[in-house]
Symmetry: C2
Subunit: 322 residues, 2 copies
Amino acid sequence: MIRMFISLMLLLSFAQAEENLPSWNEGTSKQSIINYVTAVTKEGTAHFIPVKDRIAVFDNDGTLWSERPVYFQLYFAMDRVRELASEHPEWKTTEPFKSVLENDMNGVMKSGEHGLVTLVNATHSGMDVETFKTEVREWLKTAKHPTTNRSYTDLIYQPMMEVIRYFEANDFKVYIVSGGGIDFMRSFVPEMYGIPEEHIIGSNGKVHYENGKIIKDDEINFIDDKETKPVAIYYTIGKHPVAALGNSDGDFAMMLYTEANMKYKTLQLYVHHTDEKREFAYDRKSHIGKLDKGLDYGKEHNWTIVDMKNEWKAIYPFELTK
Amino acid sequence: MIRMFISLMLLLSFAQAEENLPSWNEGTSKQSIINYVTAVTKEGTAHFIPVKDRIAVFDNDGTLWSERPVYFQLYFAMDRVRELASEHPEWKTTEPFKSVLENDMNGVMKSGEHGLVTLVNATHSGMDVETFKTEVREWLKTAKHPTTNRSYTDLIYQPMMEVIRYFEANDFKVYIVSGGGIDFMRSFVPEMYGIPEEHIIGSNGKVHYENGKIIKDDEINFIDDKETKPVAIYYTIGKHPVAALGNSDGDFAMMLYTEANMKYKTLQLYVHHTDEKREFAYDRKSHIGKLDKGLDYGKEHNWTIVDMKNEWKAIYPFELTK
């Protein structure tokens, strides 16, 4: 029994040494992630971080799964608007509903993140949270991404899942800090990413308690974007992260907040969307996932900028089984 | 090495079997806690709860430390008001400041939990969160509880610390869900109770992000009491707890929310303040920590009601070293 245990441990440690970040090509980004984790987890050395302070925060849209042509949650909200439109004649003349019903994506996009949350709130108030999450799960089972015709849950980034597992294996607590809706994410993230509900931070609506249930009200409570990402981290986590991983200027404040950690060595990583062929290529001029200020600052300050095209062997998990 | 490891494991499991809840007298409450934890952690049996769903929520004031004559945070806030009064002549005529400066405790108490947060916000806006927490820690070093002349941090409940450790040893995630201020608690709870910042939920004020720091604004954001305790649990944890431990009607909704968990066997525990001699005796008619509706409901529904006087060998840790 004991011998078996030791063999297993050896096997595991060997497998781990072999298999950290297997979907990453050897290169600057992979090396910087491994160098960082190695530096901060070796007890007795200069950059050691105690386990309790190993907090890593990840953006979701464009960092852990794709966000093009528009945020996936927006497709969900638009499908719901279409389903419920007959009960809401006023939507025909009210934005952002009007644009949805007219299939005017530009009009919808103009409403921004605020519009997205408005759509979700409006179509999902008056029901309890668990019912909402079940609806999202049902939708995910059949909905198809418009340009790839894949399930949305197929479009998660394999290399970033490996970063999450690598952090966890080194006793980091991994949190998602996203502009996406908290209930939308909580409906699939625990199963898809292996990150529990209590580590998912996002935009959210007002709710109230009633007879053992949490009921969703039709009002925005908190938009988790830009300067409010550090605020959300404060409310939920209560301490400076040491690692922040994102892909847009929406993550810039959260990354600066992490960099401002006075106590510990930190890691900032930007996923740079450079792969027009396998995914999408966009940065400074994009409406979705605009990366401009952060890109300049990151390059000047030695942040890790991942070139998806050249540094990722695979983007999506389904490429591995080809 | 291996032999030493095995000896150590045997020693630990022996020590654990011997020492669960050592400050509890044998009796109904101790047995119900142990029965519950035993029932839900045995894989393959009817009431087994997977580790990911083992969420326990504890109230703080009156559940993990004393709350009489008034909430300890109120003493802190009042000391700060006195210190800063010369800069705020308007306080002489504005409640709840007026009552504080006139040493009128009844007047202060009338302002309730809202008044407490107002006092804290007013005396602590415009500074960053870390500076605030340092001030609380400095205050705790010298401040004395008015009736016992003890440090406030001496007045934590030894038997409840043992419940926290017992839950943790059985892979529960332990959260505090308190009406007290989130930053006030985060300043001492991690060190005193061994519960990390990210597991502390409480009332809080508005904040904003500025140059790598979280700055506290002079405005209430969220009061975590009664029906908003389940709401706070939803935002931060995102799933039904399985165990809820409190001492007042302020915890009643959180306990009902836990009881409404459809998936798992749950535990509800009330600390009933019955010990006038070693602590304080109060329940149905108290302004602070009123326990009335919850006591009736709990008795009818087989909740665990702890009789502090008869079930706790020691109340405070300092009694152990007598």
